[in-house]
Amino acid sequence: MTSQTSSALAAAVLGAAALLFSALSIPSALQPPTLPPPVDVATVDLSVIITGVGAVGAPKHHFFNPSMIVARRGDTLRLRVMNLTFARHGFEIQGYGVRTKGLPGGPTGQETLTFVANRGGVFQYRCNIPHNPKTGDCSPDHESQVGYLVVLDQPR
């Protein structure tokens, strides 16, 4: 009788404790890790140039300047993409859904992209037009025409 009562009592106490801890863990388990809201936001207003270098007569090496853009989560990016090459090029940030149309070289080959860096991480930006010599699209070094957007999560 006493053993049975104490056993049932222990079960009740443990059951109550289990219930309490389970209830405590439900809200935090359902939500993803909570990111604090950005402390401070800025606008990064940059000119992005598509250009190439190389010896005369040799295939050119094409790149973006800057080849790395760093922002904090919450910052607004305003990128004026400009193509100074002979071929048509584009600009696309993978994972951000941000891209230009095909840009011809010269003053008409410009497009401004404005967006909020709302996701932290490292994102590659690259030319989004495959190389096609017949149509004057991009260049043989298409695959290496890349840069990186780094979006930092702000502490606190």
């Binding site: 056993s7 222990a10 289990a18 760093v70 002979f86 999560d153």
Partner: protein, 154 residues
């Protein structure tokens, strides 16, 4: 009857003990926001860099940009820039948020900017010399000569 009730109580005890262990594990390993206390902060360092007026041209466009166009340091780091102007027009580097400015850099000139990055944030640097073709001051793309220094919190 008495034995069956005792067996049920023991079963309940084991079950709730198991539930307690599981919920404790879940509670302790629940996702939490980063505290940032990953370890001792690295000592402040000096980022010494060469900063130049870079020219990009092609298809009738002449672009002048500060190169590097993007810099990142941590709060407390020292920024030490050797600024040079190899262009054929005069320029002047200005980092507004830190009250830093070189002298007017005529073609071939260089200057040095050195300061401690003691404020966190995003700071633009640009050419402080307005476009004036008569004086060979800067170029028509003067407003585009802009880069950013990002200072992160320690």
């Amino acid at each position: 009857m008495n034995r069956g009730s005792s067996g049920l109580a023991t079963f309940a005890l084991v079950l709730s003990g198991l539930a307690l262990i599981i919920s404790l594990v879940v509670y302790i390993s629940r996702p939490r926001a980063e505290t940032g206390a990953a370890g001792p902060a690295a000592a402040p360092t000096t980022m010494a860099l060469s900063m130049v007026v870079a020219t990009f041209s092609g298809q009738g466009v002449f672009a002048h940009r500060w190169y590097p166009t993007m810099m990142i340091v941590r709060e407390g780091d020292t920024v030490d820039l050797a600024v040079a102007n190899p262009d054929e027009f005069s320029h002047q580097l200005e980092l507004t948020g830190y009250d830093q400015k070189t002298k007017i850099l005529n073609p071939g000139d260089s200057a040095r900017i050195k300061f401690v990055a003691d404020r966190v944030g995003v700071f633009a640097y640009q050419c402080a010399l307005p476009y004036d073709p008569a004086k060979k001051h800067c170029t028509p793309d003067h407003p585009e000569m802009r880069g950013y220094l990002l200072v992160t919190a320690r």
